[in-house]
């Protein structure tokens, strides 16, 4: 089998229902190695559910999830092994409050992967340094800001050396001034070729980073396009309206609208932090 040609992640006809209501209604999707895929859609369309299915936090009703050529959705799947290859960061700050930053990061590598302590520690410290938090390694989560906590949460997932990272609105609960520091970390990962599925409402960021955009409505993929195409000229009317809903027109009648930004002006994403 030619591993190169195979997409890293392939989802076929995924159905997930809560009770009777379908949250995902036949989602198909493929993610190539090194792709940054942005998942967009109105609230409640099933974005979180999709990510949660991919690392087995939800049981699915039908369909297939294939990671690296291996069907991980069949009943015999070893989720503990799958989850080592799929890192996930949630919206809420979910660090373990009773552990220091370093212990948070090392829990998975030491207890799950049973790695050598010195080696794991070296990697953890290297990653913390990359997100600018090495000097906080002995601190406890309560001593960190929201943005710092999310950066540690990202490092905690990265330190497992996953093939795929899932980000579920990781900046949604942050104060605005902390959003950037977290997005910069994710942008840096994209540059390094990490394969990622990113759910976000930060449109400028999505536009800047997306190799591919997946637009979901009511539990089904409405549009799957190249990032470039999707944000410049979406193929579906629903997507066009969705993107427009993020724009603000001036509501002040007598103001001239000459130089004012009229649409989605990308804010350049700084990538310096990731070196």
């Amino acid at each position: 089998m030619n591993q190169e040609a195979l997409p890293l992640l392939q989802i076929k006809g995924l159905v997930k229902t809560y009770g009777k209501a379908p949250a995902l209604n036949g989602v198909s999707l493929s993610v190539g190695k090194g792709d940054a895929v942005v998942i967009l859609g109105p609230s409640g369309c099933g974005k979180s559910t999709l990510l949660r299915c991919i690392n087995g936090l939800e049981r699915i009703q039908s369909g297939e999830i294939i990671l690296n050529g291996e069907n991980i959705s069949n009943p015999g799947a070893r989720w503990d092994l799958v989850r080592q290859r799929v890192g996930m960061v949630f919206q809420s700050y979910d660090l373990f409050p009773h552990m220091s930053v370093l212990d948070n990061v090392l829990l998975g590598p030491l207890k799950v992967q049973k790695r050598d302590k010195a080696e794991a520690r070296r990697q953890a410290e290297g990653l913390l340094a990359r997100v600018g938090l090495l000097d906080r390694k002995k601190d406890y989560p309560r001593q960190l800001s929201g943005g710092q906590k999310q950066r540690v949460a990202i490092v905690r997932a990265l330190c497992m050396n996953p093939d795929l990272m899932l980000f579920d609105e990781v900046t949604a609960a942050l104060d605005p001034e902390m959003v950037r520091e977290v997005l910069d970390v994710i942008a840096g990962l994209a540059e390094q070729g990490m394969t990622m599925l990113i759910v976000t409402h930060e449109m400028d960021f999505a536009k800047a980073i997306a190799d591919k955009a997946v637009f979901i409505v009511d539990g089904a993929v409405e549009e799957e396009s190249d990032g470039e195409v999707f944000f410049r000229n979406p193929r579906t009317e629903r997507a066009r309206r969705f993107l427009n809903s993020f724009q603000y027109e001036s509501r002040r009648p007598r103001r001239k609208t000459g130089a004012a930004p009229s649409g989605l002006t990308p804010v350049p994403v700084t990538r310096a932090t990731m070196g």
């Binding site: 087995g56 949630f90 809420s92 979910d94 409050p97 009773h98 997932a157």
Partner: protein, 225 residues
């Protein structure tokens, strides 16, 4: 008059008898507390089980423990069970059995509450890292709930110490019963004996329960994060 009643402490072997009574109280209480704190951790896990049948069974257990007074349980075990099966249970053993049965249910409920008070994302982050169910309990759930458990479980422990006074009804002579015997014996000569003896018992209970609360406060500080 009142102070001359003090002599009740020094007559015969009164003081030694009171201390022996206190030891019986302590023995029953501490053995029961130790067993039911450990068993309660397991009961709490069962109360939060994914299987509805397990949860329902634990619910019935907890409710039956709560609905029926401890004294009735004591009678049931000491008189009922011994008669029915012809077993010869000592009063002390019957008391320990009932206290464990009772305390385990209460402790389990405390553990259940603490587990459920953890944000769901704590467990899910553990799962997302690939930790097994057991590892999640060991490294994520347990360290966080132990501290939340403290106030309620210390309260339960002191309640159990105090409830040991019920064991007189199954023929166990613990500290209160010993006190009563001493008072009855010296009442005619020394009417103030009741005041002094019960006063001392009051202080003894305080001396037993207060260090428990001190310990809990200490632990809460140590486990602060």
């Amino acid at each position: 008059m009142l102070s001359s009643g003090l002599r009740v402490f020094f007559e015969g072997r009164n003081m030694a008898r009171l201390m022996a009574g206190l030891l019986v109280t302590l023995k029953i209480a501490l053995i029961s507390i130790a067993i039911c704190f450990l068993a309660g951790l397991l009961a709490g896990l069962l109360m939060t089980s994914k299987r509805p049948a397990v949860r329902a069974a634990m619910r019935v257990y907890l409710e039956s423990v709560r609905i029926v007074p401890v004294l009735v349980w004591l009678f049931l075990v000491f008189f009922g069970v011994t008669r029915a099966w012809g077993l010869n249970l000592s009063g002390e053993l019957a008391a320990v059995l009932v206290f464990v049965f009772w305390g385990t249910a209460e402790m389990g409920d405390i553990v259940r509450g603490a587990i459920q008070s953890l944000p769901v994302h704590q467990r899910q982050s553990g799962m997302a890292l690939g930790l097994t169910e057991a590892q999640i309990y060991r490294h994520v759930v347990a360290p966080q709930i132990l501290r939340r458990l403290l106030p309620a479980s210390i309260n339960l422990a002191t309640r159990m110490v105090k409830t040991t006074s019920l064991v007189v009804f199954v023929g166990v002579t613990e500290v209160v019963k010993t006190g009563q015997q001493i008072i009855e014996f010296s009442n005619s000569k020394n009417p103030a004996a009741a005041f002094w003896i019960y006063g001392l018992i009051f202080i003894l209970y305080f001396l037993v329960c207060y260090p428990i609360s001190l310990l809990s406060r200490r632990l809460e500080k140590v486990w602060a994060y």
